[in-house]
């Protein structure tokens, strides 16, 4: 058995915190005491083996689930919100139109599995529009702001329906746990959309109520886009790229 009085010194030597004089003294003792030398060598080997333990690989889905929960709780946003515009409803209309075009691309991707998924690019489309960037002559020709809002909402819902159909048809590409989390998240967002719709119905003139509804719709679009991106990459067997691509969206 190692000399009890030397055990602390041996441990400090293993820690690398033993002063030079005490260390020299210990080293001299180790040349004479086999048990203490064995203890020192064993502890060094344990320390080195511990330091060499490889890190555990975090599953890709962990970040997706964290991001999903942060979105649900309304605690994050993906990019900066556009500055308030005079004709904010026109911005929503333009965004919704861009979204519908983007959905076509997503659908095409699911049919051509070998192509890289540009869904991450489409994710920013709704937010990149501003009141001054509505396409063509459309903005001024819309009769009322109310009509623009209604039209934008319809476009969003149309896009969501298409994306949701795509998602449902391809969910088998995902593992059951991920599917369950996505479905749960979608249900929560759907609940928020329903509540916001009720608020808009109760106060049709409230800009804040409409903005909140659109935000909920956009959250759903974002989640659906993430899901479709994930499906694309999972089908290619590229789990890491799937997480990377979705995380960038």
């Amino acid at each position: 058995m190692a000399c009890e009085r030397n055990i602390d010194r041996i441990q400090e030597a293993v820690d690398g915190t033993l002063g030079s004089i005490r260390r020299a003294d210990l080293e001299m003792h180790l040349t004479e005491c086999e048990d203490c030398r064995a203890l020192y060598e064993d502890l060094v080997r344990i320390r080195d083996a511990a330091a060499a333990l490889p890190p555990q690989q975090v599953p890709d889905r962990a970040w997706l689930q964290i991001a999903g929960r942060l979105r649900q709780e309304g605690r994050i946003h993906d990019v900066q919100k556009p500055a308030p515009a005079r004709r904010w409803s026109a911005a929503w209309l333009a965004a919704a139109a861009a979204l519908v075009i983007a959905i076509g691309g997503a659908a095409l991707l699911l049919q051509h599995r070998s192509q890289p998924a540009p869904v991450a690019q489409t994710a920013t489309a709704p937010r990149s529009s501003s009141g001054n960037s509505a396409p063509g002559k459309s903005v001024e020709s819309v009769e009322t702001v109310q009509n623009e809002v209604d039209a934008a909402q319809q476009q969003f819902e149309k896009a969501i329906t298409k994306m949701d159909d795509l998602r449902k048809a391809n969910m088998s590409a995902l593992d059951p746990q991920t599917s369950a989390v996505i479905s749960k998240n979608l249900n929560i967002i759907d609940q928020a959309i329903a509540e916001n719709r009720a608020a808009v119905k109760a106060e049709p003139a409230s800009v804040a109520a409409r903005e909140t509804l659109f935000e909920a719709l956009r959250q759903k679009v974002s989640l659906l886009q993430d899901t479709i991106s994930l499906i694309n990459e999972m089908r290619k067997g590229n789990n890491a790229a799937a997480a990377q691509l979705v995380n960038k969206s």
Binding site: M1, A2, E4, I7, D8, Q11, V14, D15, T17, A38, L39, E41, D42, L43, R45, I46, R47, A49, A50, A51, A52, L53, P54, P55, Q56, Q57, V58, P59, A62, W63, Q65, I66, A67, R69, L70, R71, R75, I76, H77, D78, N247
Partner: protein, 196 residues
């Protein structure tokens, strides 16, 4: 976590690194998902490894990792930069991990007291450890047999590479206690590995 392995801060001047951390935290507070993802990517691996080795179960570790980062997002408001962000996250994470371990042990009626000297100093007959290589699986299994206090200190110090001062910050214990826990853990591991 400036001295932990792979922390990526040692090469940059400390003040600059701290400033970068504060900017990242500020972006997280503003709700930028990209900023929080950056924070997650920098620290999730070490926290997940810690959780796996403390809980002995990857599924539980994954669940807890999510809770740790959701909790971190909520608590970033209170981060003032007194400690390094990594140390702050380790402390937050380790508190949740230990709560989970103790709650589970409580439910199972297990005793999770620390090691006494009689246990750690026992010198069972057997081959010297230094006569053979330490198998990684054997080491992981032996680690799982340590009481949680010793295991936490050992993982932070010998596996993650924190100094005793940092271990004491993370675990909320005295620096001397950190040394004592790590030293006891090594002795106990030696005994366990020699029995294998």
């Amino acid at each position: 976590m400036a001295t932990s392995k792979g922390a990526g801060q040692a090469s940059a001047p400390a003040a600059s690194a701290r400033e970068a951390e504060l900017q990242l935290v500020e972006r997280c507070r503003r709700g930028e998902l990209g900023a929080f993802e950056e924070l997650y990517r920098a620290h999730s691996g070490r926290l997940y490894s810690l959780a796996c080795r403390m809980l002995g179960n990857a599924a539980d570790a994954e669940d807890l990792l999510q809770e740790i980062f959701l909790s971190a997002h909520r608590k970033l408001e209170s981060f003032r930069g007194e400690a390094a962000l990594g140390t702050w996250l380790y402390r937050l994470g380790m508190n949740q991990i230990l709560d989970h371990v103790r709650s589970r042990a409580g439910r199972a009626g297990q005793i999770t007291d620390g090691l006494d000297d009689a246990t750690t100093l026992a010198d069972p007959q057997g081959h010297r450890l230094a006569d053979r290589a330490i198998d990684r699986i054997d080491l992981e299994r032996a680690l799982a047999e340590l009481p949680e206090g010793c295991r936490a200190a050992f993982l932070l110090h010998d596996v993650e590479g924190l100094e005793h001062r940092e271990v004491s910050e993370v675990l909320g214990i005295a620096e001397g206690t950190s040394k004592s826990q790590v030293h006891k853990a090594r002795l106990r591991l030696r005994g366990l590995l020699r029995e294998r």
